[in-house]
Symmetry: C2
Subunit: 110 residues, 2 copies
DNA sequence: TGGGCATTTGGCCAAACCGCCAATGGTTGC
DNA sequence: GCAACCATTGGCGGTTTGGCCAAATGCCCA
């Protein structure tokens, strides 16, 4: 039975893509990395990122909608936590890709 | 020294995001999954995906630009191979996210 | 209850994305 | 050579993204 991209199979890949897309932004990758060290409130993240608070808030909404992070209200502040720590291992795989590219580039150049 | 999203750090996250973005599409995730079982030519992938050849070709270009796949010409056909098999483990992590969501949904509903 | 802080939401605009069609370049085989 | 096939590239509309500003919401404390 050949694989094909329709029906139920398509739906599964769409769901996966939604999560991947949530991580496909430098700011959001930074947030994930930061939350891996523990919960952070929006104001802390905003300071580190150096963008408008509304921008950071929207990035967090994207991550939350994808199920990657969770939010918890403490008084006037909202703390975000990483819900799926395994995503943290992805960048190391990515670095592997980059390293391979660098090797290839050296081979081509040399 | 607090983390911050500027300069060299920003550049690293941008590079990572570029790779994540390459995978942030259902069709491209399907391609990666398919290539994990071995090389495939564009025509094979096109048949399975059921889209225009040009569309598939462009998706492959995106993956190739990100360093995720490599291409090799064999006669009139072009075969693509997965260059970084580790990306294949990502979806299982993603499934974990989805399972957690499903559990939570059941808790809320029940 | 009113002011101040933390966060979210809506709106706007430029840029990027995605799909198809049409046109082009390569390769095989007659 | 040319006809058929494989694949890539360019271009066009429709949709989505990402940033900021401005306004609204929620919470704490005086």
């Amino acid at each position: 039975m050949p694989k094909a991209l329709r029906g139920t199979t398509l739906a599964r890949y769409e769901t996966r893509a939604r999560i991947m897309k949530a991580l496909a932004h430098p700011t959001r990758l930074f947030i994930v990395d930061e939350l891996a060290d523990g919960p952070r409130c929006v104001c802390e993240l905003t300071t580190m990122i150096g963008a408008d608070v509304s921008t950071v808030s929207k990035h967090l909404l994207v991550l939350k909608s994808a199920g990657v992070v969770a939010s918890e209200k403490r008084g006037a502040q909202v703390f975000y936590t990483l819900r799926t720590p395994c995503v943290r291992s992805w960048p190391s795989c990515v670095e592997g890709v980059l390293a391979a590219d660098a090797r290839r580039a050296r081979l081509v150049a040399g």
